[in-house]
Each structure stands twice: as structure tokens, then as C-alpha cells.
Symmetry: C3
């Protein structure tokens, strides 16, 4: 098919070729002819996106240049970037057209076959290791791990479902069609599907566009129209792809601030977070590798969980990983009990001895075959501790970890007590347990808060020494008070009435 290029485009292109030769703010790398053609219109149509990109490394450095630096400083991990892409900037066309065949959202667009939703598989062209690692990350499967786990699907329904009050009794029904996307899936990722195409009048004539359901979304486990999972833009935000942004904890706060996973809040009141808050404008957030002590005096989320970090002697403290699990011996949130990390990132496939899709039984015992063993736990603990030891002595690090792992035991015991109240209430039919939705009655919701909010908060606080979240703010105060309130509510419910 010959590309049809309207007159305005050909004129724009001519201007652009000229423009591409003129130095503009921050733009150093030559742009491909295709990208220049895109820019001819989009500098008018979506100027903010173009501005953002122009200031990005993608606009300023060619893959060939990026591949030429020494291994520890390399950001392009693919050894064999296609020759045709190496010599110019990574622009509109490079991300939105090169894998058109794989994308169900591809449309004909001014002579190009273009898709809107760029996926980790597109980024893989240059960032192969990161794309491969990310597949092993629980986060890549956040959509499925929520929506394909029958138990967690009941939690979604209990939270998002409509309720009515008919004849003096609350009745639950399914969530509205948009609700899950506006709620849980905002972070977990939506299922982005092509529903058809639509013609729209634009400043540049009539054009066709893909109609997408589940859009917009940048959730970490998004299901993409090319069949892949996740969105690199969750952290490497469009269209600046800034390393600085990804390394700063504000980025993580988007999904890790709430009571279910209060990492950002806890970090803020930890000594590490205090230092970040006070001194960050003196730190270097773009250096690769990232030199602890020189580029930063305290870790951000990325230092401990993702980044390649070295000390001033260039000794590697931790290798870069986009499968954050690599440094995590324990899974401390999101489930009834803390437990060794799952082996397989697709946790929705786990079935415990009671047939429930949980990594532990309700008494807290582990679904051991689905979880990493002690050897792997020890290895991961060592990996994380190597980061700690960059700035702390052995006694400090060992003392900290010992206390943290005692707190895991402690919070599991307290969760066990709350679960004992719940299980007894189910047995006595004071509430209706599985297979009935175990998350929708008043007592059940109190039980959920004991583990989904309070035990988590205490563990995060212990892990990062962010004291108050272990005591008053959703901490041990809430945990001990919650148990007392559960006990009172348990007693006020009549046996055999199922919560009514």
C-alpha cells in the first residue's frame, strides 16, 4: 500500500526536515524521517506531549550512542537493537509503529500503521533485560492476580458493588461497568481492548482512531492489545521517560500510599525519608550506576528495590532488577498472613490445602510448595542486606532485620487471633463464610482491616523504621482496638442468623 500523504503533511514534512536540522531546546539526536513527519502535525495537535518528549533522553540520544557506554552505565540492555533504529532518536514512529503487526489497536494513520498503547514488548526492542525481568515481577500480573483469583474477585465485588436498601435490608449487586477500572484496576491495570474504530474530524482532516475499552490506564499489570502485560509508563512516565521520576518515591506513591500498602507514608516518617525530604535537591537522580553516599545520602524506594547501586569504590551493592521480588524474602502485604515470597508471579494459580486461592491456610500455615524455600529466602535477604551494609554496620543491619522478622511473627499471631474470631463466627453462623462472600458483612470487614490495613502497616513500619505507623496510625493501636471491637460485634451477632 502506498502511503497517502495529504498536501499539508508534505508541507509540514518539508518544514520539519528543516526544523530537524536546527538545534532546538534539548534536542541533540537526529530524528528519523517518520518521526519528523509525526512531529509536523503533533507539535500542533499535542504540543505538551511533544515538549515532554523533546526534553527526554529518547529525543536526545541515539541507541547507538547509548550502547557505546561502559557496561555499568548502559541503559540499553539489548545487544542487538535493529540497525535501522540505532542511528536516530527514539521518537513517535519508533515506539508507535514498529510493532504494528503485533498490535490489535493498530490503525491506518496518515500513511502509517500506528498504535496508541505502547507496551513492555515494544520497549523490549532496546530494553530486553528489563522487559524479561518485569515478566517475573508480581506487578506484571497484578490484573490477573486480582481478577482471576476467585476469592479476591469476591473482595472486589464487596468493595465496588452497588448496594440498595429495599424493605429495610441492604442488597448487594454487581459493580457498574466502569467501576472496577476506576477503582482497583487503576493500579492493578485494566484490560485494554479494541472495540472498533471511529472517524473523527481533526484540525488535519477526518481520521480514524481505535476505540479502546479500559482506556486510559497506566496500571502495572495492564493487559495490552498486543497480548502483553504491564505498562513501563507506570513509573517511566510518558513522554519524558525520566530516570529521575522513576527513582523518586513520589512515583511509587501513586499505588503505595493507602492503608493497604502504606509504603510511601511510612518512608516519609523514616529517617531515610526525612533525609530525602530535606536533601533531595542536592542529590543526583540521573547518574548510572547510582553511587550511594555520593549521589544520595539515603535510599529511595528504587535504591532498595530496583536500581543498580554502587559505592564510591564502584563496588556493586546491588544489581538492577525489574523483578523486585529478587530482593524480597517475605511478602508482607495484601494477604491474610505474611509469608515467604511466592515462587511464581502468577499468584492466582495458588491453591492452599483447603482449596482456597491463598498462599496460607486460615490458621496461618503456609502453602509451602507455592512459596520460596529457606535457602532462597536467605539468598534474597543477603541481597537486600548488601544495600543496607553500604551505609550501616553489621550490628545495625542484623539487629534491624531480627526485629523486623520478629514483627512478622508477631503480626501473624495477632492476625491469627482475628481470624479465629472470624472462623468461629462463620462456624456459628453469626456471619456467612465461604462459599458465601467472606468480605461483605460488618464483622468480615473488621476482620479484613486487621490484616489488610493494620498488620501490613506495622510490618512496613518495622521494615523501614517509620515509627508511628507501627503504633497509632493504623498500627498496633488500631490492631488491639480492632480486636476488641471484633469481639463486641461477634457477641452482638446472633448465632444462626448469618450477620442479619
Amino acid at each position: 500500500m502506498e502511503r497517502r500523504r495529504p498536501l499539508f503533511l508534505r508541507l509540514g514534512l518539508a518544514l520539519c526536515l528543516l526544523w530537524g536540522a536546527v538545534p532546538i531546546a534539548g534536542a541533540a539526536a537526529p530524528h528519523s524521517a517518520d518521526t519528523q513527519e509525526c512531529l509536523a502535525c503533533h507539535v500542533q495537535a499535542t504540543p505538551g506531549i511533544v515538549s515532554d518528549w523533546q526534553r527526554s533522553r529518547h529525543a536526545q540520544v541515539t541507541p547507538a550512542e547509548a550502547m557505546a557506554v561502559e557496561p555499568l552505565s548502559r541503559k540499553v540492555s539489548s545487544p542487538n537493537v535493529p540497525e535501522g533504529l540505532k542511528g536516530h532518536s527514539v521518537g513517535c514512529a519508533e515506539c508507535h509503529t514498529v510493532r504494528a503487526e503485533a498490535h490489535q489497536d493498530t490503525v491506518e494513520h496518515n500513511g502509517y500503521r500506528m498504535y496508541v498503547v505502547v507496551s513492555p514488548e515494544d520497549c523490549r526492542t532496546c530494553h530486553q533485560e528489563e522487559a524479561t525481568q518485569y515478566r517475573k515481577n508480581l506487578m506484571a500480573h497484578a490484573h490477573d492476580n486480582l481478577m482471576k483469583n476467585p476469592l479476591y474477585r469476591q473482595l472486589v465485588d464487596a468493595v465496588n458493588g452497588l448496594q440498595t436498601f429495599d424493605g429495610g435490608v441492604l442488597q448487594a449487586s454487581a459493580p457498574m461497568a466502569h467501576t472496577n477500572e476506576d477503582s482497583c484496576l487503576s493500579c492493578h491495570g485494566t484490560d485494554v481492548r479494541v472495540q472498533g474504530t471511529v472517524s473523527r474530524e481533526t484540525d488535519f482532516g477526518t481520521m480514524d482512531f481505535a476505540v479502546l475499552s479500559g482506556w486510559p490506564n497506566a496500571g502495572v499489570g495492564r493487559l495490552n492489545p498486543d497480548g502483553s502485560h504491564g505498562s513501563c509508563a507506570s513509573c517511566h512516565v510518558r513522554h519524558g521517560f525520566s530516570l529521575e521520576v522513576a527513582r523518586k518515591p513520589e512515583t511509587c506513591s501513586q499505588c503505595h500510599k493507602g492503608p493497604d500498602v502504606p509504603a510511601y507514608k511510612v518512608y516519609g516518617v523514616s529517617k531515610h525519608g526525612n533525609l530525602y525530604g530535606s536533601l533531595k535537591d542536592k542529590w543526583n537522580f540521573t547518574n548510572v550506576p547510582w553511587v550511594m553516599g555520593k549521589d544520595a545520602n539515603a535510599p529511595t524506594c528504587a535504591v532498595c528495590h530496583v536500581s543498580l547501586v554502587v559505592d564510591e569504590n564502584k563496588k556493586v551493592l546491588a544489581k538492577r532488577t525489574h523483578a523486585m521480588n529478587d530482593r524480597l524474602p517475605w511478602r508482607i502485604f495484601g494477604l491474610v498472613y505474611a509469608h515467604p515470597h511466592p515462587r511464581d508471579p502468577e499468584t492466582h494459580k495458588i491453591v492452599n490445602a483447603d482449596g482456597l486461592a491463598l498462599p496460607t491456610r486460615l490458621d496461618g500455615s503456609w502453602a509451602a510448595e507455592a512459596l520460596i524455600d529457606k535457602v532462597e529466602q536467605d539468598a534474597r535477604r543477603k541481597t537486600m542486606q548488601a544495600v543496607c551494609l553500604g551505609c550501616h554496620g553489621t550490628a545495625w543491619v542484623d539487629g534491624h532485620w531480627e526485629r523486623f522478622e520478629k514483627t512478622i511473627e508477631e503480626t501473624n499471631r495477632m492476625t491469627g487471633t482475628a481470624t479465629a474470631v472470624m472462623v468461629r463466627a462463620w462456624k456459628e453462623k453469626r456471619a456467612m463464610g465461604p462459599p458465601d462472600n467472606p468480605f461483605d458483612e460488618a464483622l468480615e470487614k473488621r476482620w479484613v482491616e486487621q490484616w489488610l490495613f493494620f498488620a501490613n502497616s506495622i510490618r512496613f513500619s518495622s521494615a523501614m523504621m517509620g515509627a508511628d505507623y507501627s503504633v497509632f496510625d493504623n498500627g498496633r493501636w488500631s490492631q488491639s482496638k480492632g480486636l476488641r471491637e471484633m469481639e463486641r460485634l461477634y457477641r452482638s451477632l446472633s448465632p444462626g442468623q448469618g450477620g442479619r
Copy 2:
């Protein structure tokens, strides 16, 4: 009346005239003789205020200079600033003496007729358009809309009133005299009234000062001693009048962070807020007009709601407005149900079909004649979307708005369910409804939280994609749990007992 000037003042003045001729930190514009006389003492009496002002544009630029710039860059909107004010800086005397006749708080002060409380009508001298727009802003009427609405006045009493426990029963009484000012009116604005004058010994001799009730306060709907409403200093903080401060979301957080209006918290965990948090020190907060993509990579509150913003092609994305309503099709917080924006900013004048001072009935139907119609809603939505489209494609923007408006419908339905429980309880005299205070009993307070906290939080979160506040942190989790707790409490209340 001849001005009496004590010797120390005349000496000070002589020094000051000298000093005015000498360049000092940041001061470039000539100061009027009156202002120089003020400074002679106040550099000693209130050095922090003088320092703040010296670094402000008011001290550095004359109105004549400010009026000479091209229209899109002009900050002085009045076409006819009085000649006598044009040629020197905007100093102490220019703000605190020129409208002495209009001010009930004017006192004789070292030969000047001076007032303390500067109002929007004073600022109007140079900033006419902004003052006129602000009058149309709901915020300018925040005091009256709370205190003159009989229903909302009951809410104020229920929150701020004293309570005693006599004979085993809680008894409510009125708030203490200072309480409303320390509480709701801190944001809504106090009624600042002159109670008389007082003589005080100062370092410069005995002087008279106005005695003001309701002072200090910088609430957005403050009633001023010149009869005007509001305080420009709510956002343009004394005495720096900094554009940077007004454009940064921290300023908005003063009144928009709590559970009743969690805009700042939601923004912080939105992608826009993440970017602000990470990159703000690279942005330009003083450029006028404000260039999206160049001066900033993501919006702050001011970008979407107030500022004149353009793209890099100098195309105007949105005109400046100090009547924030101009860009708002919906009112999403503060009332039982979300609804089209009120026509008249004085919402305390609204009466619904049931005779209540509410823009909807308790079943959610609109007091349509008091609200903007669909045509106006469409126009306002377009105005706001033009800002979105500066950086996002049409599919993104349309998908986002469609989801957001579905969430308005959803949260209204869930609020309807909570209100159905409440209305039934009132009918059955399990609680005492209007004309009895409908906000003071345990069940009523649970009902209030359903709409004043949870439904709002979900809507703000949907509007800004700040995910967690739509789920766990005062979001759908709290909404669904709250309903279950309301149901249990409803049942535990005996019919006919009115909550006792």
C-alpha cells in the same frame, strides 16, 4: 487636618528618603514618600513583613511598568489605575491607606488614616478583572453559604457545639464564642468587625489601634470591614504576593486536604502530582502566560482551575479566571449529592422542593432552576477539556471524562442508599430528623460521612486518577463498609425512641 508627625518620624523620614535612593536587596522601583515614611518605623517594628514585601514584585515594579507589557503577559488588569499610583511601587501606604473612607477599621496612625484589613476591593484598584471574577466564585461567599444556610448552620452546631454528660445522657449546647472562628471559619472566613479602638505603648510612643473581632483570619469568604467578601491573601500570601506560591498546590492544601475535600491528597498520588513532586524544582512558576510543556510538565491545581495557560505555540488553552466555577460542570463535594454547578454563587439562597436549603432533594433529584443547564455544563466541560488536550489525545480525554461522570452517577446512587436508610430511620423515629438537627446523632453522623467524606473522595479520585482514594483510603471500601455499619446501627435503634 494637618498630619501630626513626631520628631522621630521626621528624622526617620529623612533617613528613609536617603535610603530610598540607595539600592537595597531586590528593590528596584521607587517608593512613594508615604510608604517610605511607613518603612522608617516598620523596618524596626515588623521587620519580617518589610523583608517579605521588599522581595515581592509589588516593591520592585511600578504599575506603569506592569501595564506596559503585552496583553497576555499583563498582571494588572485595570485599564485606569489612578495616575498618582502608577509611578512608584505598591507599598504600605498604597494598600493600607488609599481607601480609608470605605474602611470601618480605619484609624489615625502617625498622621495617616490607616486600616489593617486589606480586602479584594482594595486590590481591585489594579486588579479589576480578578476582583470582579472572584465575586462570582463560590469561595467569595464561603462564609455566608455556610452560616446563612439554616441546614448547614445545624451542621456547624453539631460539630462545634459543647456537650455535657448529665445524668447519663449527652446534652448539646452552643459552641463557645471563639470556636466557629477556630474551626469552620478558618477556611470559610470570619466576620471581621471593629469593636472599638485601643491605645498601646509601642517603641515609637503611644498609638491607637482598631480592635477587631474575627481577627486574625485569611479565609476565602471573609467578611471585611469595608463590606467586601473574601481575602486575596488566602492564596497570594502577605506580603510577598507571590505568583509562585499561588500556583503551587501547597497553597490549596490549606483548605483542600481534609476528608471532606481531599483534593490535595488525591493530587499527590495522581500521576500529575507525582510529576509535580519529582520535577517541580525544574519548572517555572512565574512566567505569564504559563506555557504548558515548557514551564511545567504536568498541571498543578492552578493550571486546571485558575491560570491563563498556553501551549508552546502560544495558543491559549484556557483564559485566566478567578471564578473557578467557569471550568466546572459539576459540583462534586460538600453536598449530599453531586450535581450541576449552581448558577448563583450565593448558594445559601437555594431552596429545594422540600423547603430545605439544598441543591437537591433527599432522593437526589435536582433543584434544577438553581443549577446550570446542560448547555452550560457542556460549555464548561469543553473549557476544562481544552486544558487536558494540551498534553493528552482525544481518546484519553474522552475516556477519562466518561469514566468520571459514570462515577458521579455511581456515588450518587450509593449516597441514595445511605440516605434511604437515614430517611427510613427518621420516619420510624429511630433518629430525630429535620426540623431537629439532622447531623447530631450517631446514625446521622455515619450518614454524613457517606456523602461528605467517602462519595467526595471517590469523585476527587476519579477526577484526578488518584487511585487509592477511590478504593481504601476513604473510598469505596469505606463507602461499602459504612453502609453495612449504618444498617447494623439502624437495626439496633428502637423505633420511636429517636436515637436514645
Copy 3:
């Protein structure tokens, strides 16, 4: 004893002496031979610590230089720093070896007698006034004031204790051994004790280290192995000892953000906090004395509570104090009622007329002999107001303080009502009061929240004009709602049943 120095150390030392003569990043002062020897290994063993220190003033300035500046700018308050320490930087050896005799955690370490835990008594060598003042600070006694107060010890047990659910009844038991350290004592300070020594293989051979319980910790009232109380590193964070960090409110947030003491959150939504958030990158956080109006346009925590602050005329607004009480007429948090500040920082020694370790009786009347009198209150209020008056007029300051002190009265009255419900419940044996744990039952926990969370929050908000925390977010809304819920719970408890 002759020091044994292994070969590698002697080689390292030689290199170091060379290195010490070469300018390195930020290092200007000569290092002692001992410190150079430490660095020889530690630049490899703990590079992050060394980097941090190298950028600190301790590495860059000698005490002799620091003592030579004019009095208002001096940071070294001891008039007689030992001669042997004056001429070189304050390095590893200077802090970790000079008081070896006084430290129970001292071990033999490569020929040195070295201790890990540096205490305020070590810092006293150069910072005598600050160490002496800090002893008078309640914070220095935060461990004892919690753990030696029998009533507060019951609160600790009620929050941190394990619970089990046996036979349908909750049973409380003691906290696990690590829990208090992970919880309350994280801020209040642990009891750091030497449990023995351990030999560890290191990169530099086998070495002995002290085994410490209660470690790591940087709580403000830490009990140190040299018998002293507190940790300067709580705010002057290891090993940068940055004045900037200590002056920024993020540092205070570590322990002053939770619902029990929400100072940081309230500050953030106050006008002062708004300005800090917007403008801090333009402020000077290292100037001594700190010039209000020039170095900063609004106070941080340190300005009002700790720092030496002057105005642009060099007039001292407030002298530096590390006994923060000096500027505090009232104690507004942590106890059942607000009350005049205690005379003695060791508040665990207070016994009220009822024999309880509280500064008031349960009816709110003061244990007057333990508290400062009106004269002292007036003096402290004046001290604090002098800071306010640096930037605000008298009417503003007086109006603000009058309102604040009315709010103290108001919140005490509301707490009195909640306490009346509680006392009546105890009398009627609906709950089990003292000597039984008064903090462990459902009603008791509601009562605690009334004063430990809500009344505090309102007072902090009033003190700093951080509006929302006085209304909805743990403010008067929560206080009035909490009372109603206490009343309902009170009625639902059967007399004589003691909460069961």
C-alpha cells in the same frame, strides 16, 4: 598496652596520611592520625558512612576554627574544648574513642578502645550548652516518662500486648520481647545494653564487637551504655550532622506526624507550612544566626521551638534552646487534659491527688505543685510571641493566642465530658477501671482517642492555624462523633459486667 596494628593497617595508614594531604570532595580540615587510620579501612567497610561524614562540617572545620567566629554565629558552645581536639577535624576517632572509659560498649578494635553508641555526653565535649539544655527537655526523658510511669506502662501493654481468642473470649498477654522497641520506643528511645561481645570475620580479619540489645535505635530518650539519656542523632542525623536537616520539619515528622501528635501534618496545611512547601528551595537553612525574613519567609518547627533567630536588624527574636519547654507555656498533647508545662522534665515522678501518675486529676484539675505557675507561663508565652512578632503585628499575635488558649479550655471541657462517661462506666462496672488496665476495653479505647487523638489534633491545629485538623480530620467532627459513639457503647454495656 601497646596498640597492635596489623600490616594492612600500617599500609593503609601510610596511604591515608598521603590521602589526608590531598584535597578530596568537601574535606578541608586536617584529620587526626587516629581518624586517618580508621578511614583507611572504613572507606572500604562502610563507604556510605565515610561519604556522609566527608561532606559534613565535622570533616571540614576544626573546633579551633569553629570557636573563632563571633558569638552569635558560634556553634561550638564549650569554652574549653581540649587542646588535643582543637586542631583537626571531628572524625571517627574523636567521637568513637575519646570517652572510652565511660562507655560500657567499648571494645578493643585494632589497637583502639572504640564504642559504637555516641551519646549526648560525647557531643558535650564541644556542644556543652546544648547537652545541658537537652537534659532539661522532656524529650531526653521520653523513655523513662513512658516506661517508669505505671499508668502509661499499662497503655503500652494494652497497645503492644499479644491477644488470643480462647473459648470465645479475648485474652491479653504481655508484648513479645522485641515489640516495645519496634513500637513506642522507636521514638521514645530504647534501653541500649551491652549483652557481651562477639567475634566476626570481616574483610580485615577476625574482630570483636559489642553485642547490644535495644539496637539499632535513635529515639530521643534513649538510655545509652554510658548512662546518659537521648540521642543527638535523632535530629542531627548521622554522619552528616546537618544543620539543614535539623532545621527542616521533615526531621520532626519522624515522631510528630501521627494522630497522637500531628504537628507535622498540621504544619503542612498551615500558611507557614504552605510557604515552606512552596519556597523552601529559596531559603537558607545553614546561616547562623538564622535571619527571619531574609533566610526564610516563614517558620519551620525549629524556628519557633529551638533555633537562635534574629531579624534583619540582627535583633535576637529568640535565643537557641535545646530544652524546647523554654518557649512552651502549655503542654497540649500526650495527657488526658492540656495543662501548664511540668516543672521537672521527669514527668514519671508526678503523682496527682488521686495517687495516679498524671499531671491532672480525672476531673481536669491540675496537680499544681508539679506544674509551672502563671508567672512562668506568662514568661514563656512572651518568649514564643517574640518570634511571632518578628513578622506579625500585635493585634494578629494577641488575637491568635487568645483564640488558641480558648481552644485549650474548650477541648479540656469536651475531654471532661468524655471522661465523665468513662468514670461513670467504671463506677457502674460497665468497664473495669484502675487498678485494672484502664486502656484495654472497647469503651476505654474510644475514651483514649477523645483526648490522645482528637483534643490534641484540635489544639495543634489551633496553635498553627492548620484548619482542617481542627474540623474533620481527627478534629471537632471526630470529637463530637466520638462522644455520641461512646454514649451508645456505654448504654449497650451491662452494669456490673465489666465490659464483657
